[in-house]
């Protein structure tokens, strides 16, 4: 069956997000459009030697509020965030009223690391008190698959349920694989996306030691500067983004208006280095080209690129080269922007949250800016929408996600006519 047939078109019928800019998708997007920053000094104490003292935390949001104190204690924060975002998405897609058999709903999430909060707390307790200071709740709380498992339990979704780990591209891979699963026809909906909550002293220290984080502690809101010549790394963030995907005909049958069609997906590996992206953007470019091919769209059809745009020295140059390789002369016409300049890097959740924002750009006809892009790096010479948001009706966009390990995933969105 051709992907153009209605049966094979997969759409986004519900979205949910909890981010450093808001506790739902629309309020987070409104903050992005205003150019607000979710980056600030950490809300917890750090060792005097810590060189990075800023992060993009989800503030004033506790899992206890949605799960209750007893249930919340059994899970790491990334699970809380996943359940919160999944409930929003399910309500938005009107899944609760569907009466559809739950055996035909799958859960496929992306998580980069999992419950570092619980892991380090457990290590601390056992270092002081020996093995009996460990809790029976520790392992079930922190394993990376527990977000998907608990979303399945919470929403009684009884189809396939598992987790993809591909570092900072985890949830983009999960969404792409969810699309392919839906095209196989054995499921009606897939609850997909990702979650991450590793903003802890140890999580920050780990990325800081890698030299990946900005150290602009004096000006947190100016720290993440994608494509700017003065950029010095990304800002660690946390949050979750969950989408309900289904075939267009299923959504129409339920009377749900989709946000957009996920028209194409491709994933590649650089197969080159543990942490460095391919300098020439080869793997990323192949993912873009593959995703366009899967969507049966020529490069010239794309209007907007929601960039991976981390604000590290290497990523922004490699991504710019990848865009040029994939789009040729059309690269100069593209609007490109980085949400990470405002929400930080949500690691395993980044691809999902950014795809949700891309869908809202299509819905509202607004492209959020790249904040803090004041003096472009000479090697980053495309249109990254600096300064303020731009308004234009957009019908096609891509979202890029790349991760440590050389993982590249690209998703294509097309407006539903």
């Amino acid at each position: 069956m051709s992907p153009d047939s209605v049966d094979q078109r997969v759409v986004i019928s519900g979205i949910g997000a909890i981010t450093p800019l808001g506790h739902d998708a629309e309020s987070s997007f409104a903050g992005l459009v205003q150019g607000e920053s979710g980056v600030a000094a950490t809300g917890f104490d750090l060792h005097a030697d810590s060189e990075c003292r800023i992060a993009a935390e989800v503030r004033n949001w506790q899992g206890e509020e949605i799960l209750g104190r007893r249930a919340a204690r059994r899970f790491s924060r990334f699970v809380h965030l996943a359940v919160g975002a999944a409930r929003q998405a399910a309500a938005d897609a009107k899944l609760d009223d569907s009466g559809e058999p739950r055996e035909r709903i799958g859960v496929l999430l992306g998580v980069g690391l999992g419950g570092l909060d619980t892991l380090y707390d457990s290590f601390d307790r056992m270092a002081r008190g020996g093995p009996r200071a460990g809790s029976p709740l520790d392992i079930p709380a922190l394993i990376p698959n527990m977000a998907a498992a608990q979303v399945a339990i919470d929403l009684n979704a009884r189809g396939p349920c598992y987790t993809i780990a591909a570092s900072c591209a985890s949830s983009a891979h999960a969404i792409g694989e969810a699309v392919e699963k839906l095209r196989q026809g054995s499921l009606d909906q897939v609850i997909t996306g990702g979650s991450e909550a590793i903003v802890t002293p140890q999580g920050l220290a780990g990325f800081e030691r890698l030299g990946a984080l900005s150290r602009n502690n004096a000006q947190p809101d100016r720290a993440c500067r994608p494509f700017d010549r003065d950029r010095d790394g990304f800002v660690l963030g946390e949050g979750a983004g969950v989408l309900i995907l289904e075939r267009l005909e299923t959504a129409r049958g339920r009377g749900v208006t989709p946000y957009a069609e996920v028209a194409g997906y491709a994933a590649t590996a650089d197969a080159l280095h543990q942490t460095q992206p391919a300098a020439d953007g080869d793997g990323a470019a192949r993912a873009i080209i593959g995703a366009l091919r899967a969507a049966r769209l020529p490069p010239e059809a794309i209007e907007y690129v929601n960039a991976h745009g981390t604000g590290t020295l290497q990523n922004d140059i490699a991504e710019t080269r990848a865009i040029k390789r994939a789009f040729g002369s059309h690269a100069a016409n593209l609007w490109i922007s980085s949400n990470k300049s405002m929400i930080g890097h949500l690691i395993g959740a980044a691809g999902a949250v950014e795809l949700i924002f891309t869908a809202l750009s299509l819905k509202h006809g607004i492209v959020p800016p790249t904040r803090n892009l004041e003096n472009p790096d000479p090697e980053c010479d495309l249109d990254y929408v600096p300064g303020s948001a731009r308004t234009r009706r957009i019908s096609t966009a891509i979202s890029n996600s790349f991760g440590f390990g050389g993982h590249n995933a690209v998703l294509v969105l097309r407006a539903c006519s």
């Binding site: 104190r69 007893r70 059994r74 009996r132 079930p140």
Partner: protein
């Protein structure tokens, strides 16, 4: 029975299972009334162990499935009779 021990047990169980201490009586069943599962029971045993500074072997957990039974078990253990 030592009322202080009872109060301390009730305090731990109320905190871990997130229930009001006033709602707990000697007859309250951890599994049937408070819906504790195997993870909750293991967590409770370790918390009580820490709280009372004794070791509670896993195989003793079935002796502590109501508030009253937990009180009897812990009182004996604290007296060194167990």
């Amino acid at each position: 029975m030592d009322p202080e021990i009872r109060a301390r047990i009730i305090g731990v169980i109320a905190d871990r299972l997130d229930v009001r201490p006033e709602a707990l009586t000697p007859e309250t069943s951890l599994v049937d009334d408070l819906e504790a599962d195997s993870l909750d029971l293991a967590d409770l045993a370790l918390t009580l162990e820490e709280h009372f500074a004794i070791r509670i072997p896993e195989e003793d957990i079935p002796q502590m499935l109501t508030i009253g039974a937990a009180e009897i078990y812990l009182s004996k253990r604290l007296e060194g009779h167990a």
